[in-house]
Symmetry: C2
Subunit: 293 residues, 2 copies
Amino acid sequence: MELKKTPPAPPAVLHQGEFWFTELHAPGTGITFRVKQVLYFARTPFQEIALVETSDMGRALFLDGTVQLTERDEFIYHEMMVHVPLCIHPRPRRVLIVGGGDGGCVREALRHPEVEEVTLVEIDGEVVDCCRKHLPLTASRLDDPRVRVLIEDGVKFMKRSRGAFDVIIVDSTDPVGMAGPLTREGFFRAARRALTPQGLYAAQSQGPIFDGKEIGRIARTARKAFRHVSHFLAPAPTYPGGLWSFILAARGARNPAALRPRPLPRGEKTRYYSAGVHRAAFVLPPFVRDFIQ
Amino acid sequence: MELKKTPPAPPAVLHQGEFWFTELHAPGTGITFRVKQVLYFARTPFQEIALVETSDMGRALFLDGTVQLTERDEFIYHEMMVHVPLCIHPRPRRVLIVGGGDGGCVREALRHPEVEEVTLVEIDGEVVDCCRKHLPLTASRLDDPRVRVLIEDGVKFMKRSRGAFDVIIVDSTDPVGMAGPLTREGFFRAARRALTPQGLYAAQSQGPIFDGKEIGRIARTARKAFRHVSHFLAPAPTYPGGLWSFILAARGARNPAALRPRPLPRGEKTRYYSAGVHRAAFVLPPFVRDFIQ
């Protein structure tokens, strides 16, 4: 096999003076980035954090070797994760974000003038510190007076919260290891109790190309706690399979997927989200519907 | 930087007894596959063809080192490319496919009982031969009596066709080199002339994550030949950026994006396409709209 147009790209090794990092999405399939500079690297009690400057994607945050975001494409994930629930909640005053220490969800939530307080509960303080220092694109709004940053276990925080939040957003790592409890029935029940009566719950729920079964498991588990659990999709260029799913659930009796989104205030320009995109995102292709039945 | 969960993945080299192949989507960003077996490799007068068995994605066809399809995700691309135009054409009897030597578009077109003849015009006969032999998932319907396979230059074929096709689908490689002429004004004008009065034209038009400017160029060029040029999107897990765009144009005065899709016949199950997905695919996020203005 002749080799063309393909400079060397080994995973996290130096090759001909270049440093390439590969994340595997399946045993023999992955995404690879040339890293220009490692800005931060630490092993915390929770995970391994790496914040790097890539060749093409801007800065990128890896946790345990898994891409969490790149500056180039994070707008899609963060806009959808936040504006889908916030644009259909009648009055989203108090917002809780679990995980999301990079600040991307906080930044988007603050674009809604109805929001009076955003509580960020991140288990690993070093993620927040590192992003404040090296990822201003997402973290710059963490110092807004409306934001409260708590470094603690989101599961414990949720269990002691009652009727406190209009919108809860769970922006977690993959549901294995530390983040495993965030997709268990007990957590969903605690989240439901932590919502106000009209409250909405949104969370990332993995991608259908490589993790369809996991989407199904999360859906079935969430349905044990919430009356209505809907699913929406968005592209995720640097996540496995390039397509990502999210769940949207309501404490109350109304199906949140049927609610009409309110427009964002004038002047708040989004790059991926729009009212039309909101509605289209809930149209699931048959192969995704099959997973969640 | 400590290395975890990341076995070696150099591009098209043997490493610890494993053969990995990387396609770069930008100078320092790419997708990497472990190749279990090279089933076919040839350098033809037109390109380098490699058909390989991958670790996770089934068989994969590479042309000049660029992924054309994998068995695992080709259903999305082929269903959208074909069913979007065919489900809105009132009576798609004669279908022309330019490129697409793997047979995936032919397979989908034959699922429409209205289709009487599918003409496949592929410039490189070795692609067709190799896919007939090694890619039955897409190529198995090339021997259907309704199919006519012509090995010739699609540009020349188009220039001598007049009012002959109800639907034209251009399933080409990236618009550089050999495929460059397929996105030039002269080709679009020839395609318009090759359509019947109610005829529709669909073509892949690159991805907005890495090639937004190219989407814009293709859109502006197509609008010189067609009155209505619409755009739709679909996930493309193994294409650059994981999100792909397509153009849909009409010879006539009606805007094809506004037409209601007809359902596929009962029993014809699709995995990605549905009438709802069809409509949702035309909702473009603001950052894509910006490219095509």
